[in-house]
């Protein structure tokens, strides 16, 4: 069985990039009721367009309605749930039992999915949610391989497992530090990420911090496929289009190669480099094979490096001249080695021999944000392919 690659989309633009780069489905939030209250999120009109765009490509859209509702929040929610059913979204990701209640009362036919905020860690809990009518559960990120195996064996319900991205230090949903420190409600999308703050600790001079490193399951994709997990989820509705395209592309290729039985060590080595560099935080497999330990955590508030790997986007390509028009995203110059990748473009590297600026003049570098330039490329490229700092070396032959 080929698992679904499920990508985050914080905006319509990101949704299109995710689906074009190989995601089988996306999860998005409306203007209210999701756990990313401060992301752009989608208006009702954008949700309609998102569903229509995804369905035209035979792909799915799940809507996060996964905050914890206070009485006041219930006032408009019935209308919203009915709207989501009407526009044919493919699933509702929910946490609050009040929302499950309303889905049933309103006889909404859209499948509902139990959010990771409910921290499902065992098969009995899964049975409980199945008995309520849930079509799928997003498992707690603290689950081990053995936990997942038992759940898959004992309960006939779809499982969604996070494979990449940031994770909470706590079990998801079981942290209200943000409420107490900043008066922002973590379980209604206002989390201020207090786990990334510094604390003083009695008797010790070294600052105390508890932030988790990110999740990266690249080494265990084969295991997850053999466990028959239905959906591989990527975290990051606040992340950039570069991050989303890169991570989706990497995991889609890995999954395809595993299914086709042609995944090599070189592939793994290359995509590890890609995934390690595309975010500004370290990533680890966390709880899958062992308990998370000292290496899976940060100990000062911010240990993040800015990433300028994203060099540009292909706007057009002239097959006669092999010239590509590029929208610049980060500084690069003549002599730099870059990689190109895209939904229909195998990764390849080349050296920038020449840059032609917007005035048609040769330039030594592309240094202005979003400036439009032309470069020669050795192979055919496609619109919306991405240029990045080269990570492909001679040992990588994909």
């Amino acid at each position: 069985m080929r698992p679904e690659i499920l990508a985050p989309a914080g905006s319509l633009e990101k949704l299109k990039w995710a689906l074009n780069y190989g995601a089988d489905a996306v999860y998005v939030g409306g203007k209210n009721y999701s756990l990313r209250a401060n992301a752009n999120n989608f208006t009702d009109e954008e949700l309609k367009e998102a569903v229509s765009f995804a369905h035209s490509k035979n792909k799915k859209v799940y809507i996060t309605v996964n905050m914890l509702f206070h009485n006041e929040d219930l006032k408009e929610i019935e209308k919203y749930l009915l709207f989501l059913e009407k526009i044919n979204v493919d699933g509702l990701i929910v946490t609050d039992f009040g929302i499950i209640s309303l889905i049933k009362k309103l006889n909404i036919k859209t499948p509902f999915i139990i959010s990771t905020q409910e921290s499902v860690t065992n098969y009995k809990t899964l049975e409980f949610y199945k008995s309520l009518g849930a079509s799928r559960a997003v498992l707690a990120r603290e689950c081990s391989k053995e936990d997942i195996k038992e759940m898959k064996e004992k309960v006939d319900i779809e499982l969604e497992v996070f494979i990449h991205g940031a994770m909470c230090t706590s079990y998801s949903g079981r942290c209200v530090l943000s409420n107490y420190v900043t008066k922002r409600d973590s379980n209604r999308g206002g989390c201020a990420q207090i786990c990334r703050f510094n604390f003083e600790i009695e008797e010790n001079e070294e600052k105390y911090a508890i932030s988790s490193k990110d999740l990266n399951m690249i080494d265990y994709i084969t295991d997850l496929i053999s466990l028959n997990v239905e959906s591989f989820k990527i975290e990051g509705r606040m992340k950039s289009i570069y991050y989303i395209a890169t991570v989706v592309h990497a995991y889609k290729n890995i999954v395809d190669k595993i299914i086709n039985n042609n995944l090599t060590d070189n592939d793994i080595s290359y995509y590890k480099k890609v995934l390690e560099r595309c975010a500004n935080r370290e990533n680890k497999a966390q709880f899958f094979e062992k308990e998370a330990d000292v290496k899976d955590q940060y100990f000062t508030g911010r240990e993040e490096v800015s990433n300028q790997d994203f060099l540009g986007i292909v706007l057009s390509f002239d097959e006669q001249t092999n010239e590509a028009v590029i929208e610049q995203r980060n500084y690069f110059q003549v002599g730099d080695k870059v990689d190109v990748f895209g939904p229909h473009t195998e990764v390849f590297s080349f050296e920038i021999k020449e840059i032609i600026n917007e005035d048609g003049l040769p330039a030594q570098s592309a240094k202005h944000p979003r400036e439009i330039i032309k470069i020669k490329v050795p192979n055919k490229v496609n619109v919306n392919d991405i240029l990045r700092v080269s990570l492909l070396d001679k040992s990588d032959s994909l």
């Binding site: 209250a37 401060n38 914890l68 509702f69 206070h70 009485n71 006041e72 219930l74 946490t95 609050d96 039992f97 009040g98 209640s101 309303l102 860690t121 065992n122 098969y123 009995k124 809990t125 049975e127 409980f128 309520l132 707690a140 603290e142 038992e150 230090t169 706590s170 079990y171 079981r174 942290c175 209200v176 530090l177 409420n179 107490y180 420190v181 008066k183 922002r184 409600d185 379980n187 209604r188 999308g189 206002g190 207090i194 703050f197 510094n198 604390f199 003083e200 600790i201 009695e202 008797e203 010790n204 070294e206 105390y208 508890i210 988790s212 308990e291 330990d293 899976d296 955590q297 100990f299």
Partner: protein
């Protein structure tokens, strides 16, 4: 000393195993955290201790850990021949336990998760009519919940609440990382900017962070007594214990101790644009 009638709806979550002191003050109902399967408390109780105490007092059990494969297997065995009849109720975080414990004994305690009347009524429709409501609710929200539900509502009236529960070793990891000597399982920590104080505690490979300020809702005791059960959680409370036990139902208690009841009077925001 208070009368039995005064203490009827109050349940003590003890910080020590000496029950005579509580009994002498008129308290007869206790929540006992089950050892190995609960976290963030000062004292834990084995099944046999719980059985013994249930012959003397109104006993509730607390099981607030998430159960992974191994723990679920263990707890299934633990409860296989357990006689629940003498137990008043069992506070559960992991809903797997709804499959192992009679419905009428279940007290839904999903920490911080129950915030509205619709979810409480839904639980009731499933056969679970005992629910702990969140401490980050306003008094108006609590009143509305009371008016719109007939479930039995439990509320942490006085408590250094658990604010975070993690499957990580948040104490050991720190000391290992900095190559420092860990001298205990529990430390006070203070956020650098706001200076807010918390207590971090590691137990059996998992950790909790609790508030170091007592949440004390007594200012609204007249309204809160309309709920069914009020919990006095003495975990991490030492100095103020006597004052609390003497004044547990006084509307002046919050002024006698270092305490906070912010959420009862302030609706919490979540969109940055809504924060004034």
């Amino acid at each position: 000393m208070c009368t039995r009638e005064d203490t009827k709806k109050y349940i003590i979550l003890p910080n020590k195993k000496d029950f005579n002191k509580f009994k002498a003050k008129g308290f007869n109902s206790f929540i006992l955290p089950l050892e190995k399967y609960s976290i963030g408390f000062d004292v834990y109780f084995s099944i046999s201790e719980i059985k013994d105490l249930s012959n003397k007092f109104n006993i509730y059990i607390m099981i607030n850990k998430f159960l992974h494969k191994k723990e679920l297997f263990e707890i299934e065995n633990l409860f296989k021949n357990f006689n629940f009849s003498n137990i008043k109720g069992i506070f559960i975080e992991d809903l797997a336990l709804t499959k192992l414990i009679p419905n009428e004994k279940i007290i839904i305690y999903q920490n911080h998760m129950i915030n509205n009347y619709e979810s409480i009524n839904f639980f009731k429709s499933l056969g679970f009519e005992n629910v702990v409501i969140n401490n980050a609710l306003t008094i108006e929200e609590i009143k509305e919940i009371r008016n719109k539900t007939t479930s039995k509502l439990f509320y942490f009236l006085i408590s250094k609440n658990i604010l975070m529960y993690s499957k990580r070793k948040l104490v050991s990891n720190y000391f290992e990382n900095f190559n420092l000597e860990k001298t205990k399982e529990k430390y006070n920590i203070k956020e650098e900017v706001t200076k807010k104080e918390f207590i971090v505690k590691e137990e059996n490979g998992s950790s909790t962070i609790s508030n170091n300020v007592i949440f004390c809702a007594n200012k609204f005791i007249n309204e809160l007594e309309k709920l069914d059960f009020l919990i006095i959680n003495l975990t991490n409370i030492n100095e103020e214990e006597n004052i609390i036990l003497e004044n547990f139902n006084s509307d002046k208690l919050q002024s006698m101790i270092n305490s906070d009841y912010y959420f009862l009077e302030n609706e919490i925001k979540y969109k940055i644009g809504d924060i004034k």
